[in-house]
Symmetry: C2
Amino acid sequence: MAAIDTASLFADVEPASSRRLLQAALDAFAARGYRATTTRDIARRAGLSPAGVYVHFGSKADLLGAISRVGHDTILRMSEQAIAQGEDPGDRLSRFVRTFAAWHAAHHGVARVIQYELRELTPAAFEEARERRRRFDEIVQAELRRGNETGVFAVADVAGTALAILSLCIDVARWYGTAPRRSPAAIGDLYADLVLRMVRSGGELDEDA
Amino acid sequence: MAAIDTASLFADVEPASSRRLLQAALDAFAARGYRATTTRDIARRAGLSPAGVYVHFGSKADLLGAISRVGHDTILRMSEQAIAQGEDPGDRLSRFVRTFAAWHAAHHGVARVIQYELRELTPAAFEEARERRRRFDEIVQAELRRGNETGVFAVADVAGTALAILSLCIDVARWYGTAPRRSPAAIGDLYADLVLRMVRSGGELDEDA
DNA sequence: GTCTATAACCAGATAGAC
DNA sequence: GTCTATCTGGTTATAGAC
């Protein structure tokens, strides 16, 4: 099972001031929201003067855009690696859900920013995010169709079920930290179990149940 | 099946200016977020001058608090009515999910405000919201336990599964309007089906599946 | 690259006339 | 209850010295 990446998202960003600014912006956006965060907050957290931000980034929105790009790329890459390790559709979907859900718990800070601040992105950055997000939908839909074909899944509404699966995992970022704490891995395991129950064959409900 | 309430949340608020301000604030908060909304936006949408807001409400936060109270009360009442109409745990949980999920689609504006602007509430309003929100958790957990007792459900992790069920439905408010449009009722039906698959007995997975 | 100082603007909220 | 006018303070971003 793939371990959850614990290194900072920005570990290889140079120079150090840019890296500290990205981390400071991420922390502030996650804690208080993009709009409620001031560039002074970010500068202070990064140990710079208010003007220091603009040496490294053109605007507050640029910082958000950079976080969005790195965040989306990271979870997309992790998801693709996780699913590639599975053999059959059940195994592959299960690995995807475990990784995707656990990431939203372990990295609920970044996750909150990339999932809930989309409307604050510039049009260009929004389009960039939208492209990557479509990939997640394609990944899950493809796996559901494959499972339907081999007969291990019985998913009547592939698009709706894929949306529900992603939605379930994404929302972890919202509640994580408020509900009684569970480890990201425990959430991943629980969710993989729940999702497999939702999709596999033999689970059709009677109409009058 | 209970029809989704389509009347305005604030239909019986008097005077008319207060009602218009609440609706204006709701529309603005839903569309652009609480922090990105100015009191001038709200006043203009309500057909008042910027100062007109403060005749009826003490602050922008008061408007949010009022929306949160009415929103939480509305969906809580609808949920309790829906579940009361069911006979057995499967039926009751199914009715709850249909109503709760469909409401988050049909009223994704209010839903977004009450689900994603919690941190903007005053401490008093936050506590009020938290009490009501605990009720949803109790409702679902109680039904899961009842189903376990009668043997129709086989839920190993009641707290975690209840959280997942609520989470799945709440997240409808986030994506509704971005994904290809489905009717709120269709979402309610799909989600009730998915949730029943998740919880009922006979659905346990092999460890090495 | 970093700082201090500041420009230019916009926010929430209030005063006081009508 | 509603308005116009305004107060007060905070916001993003820039200028220019070091």
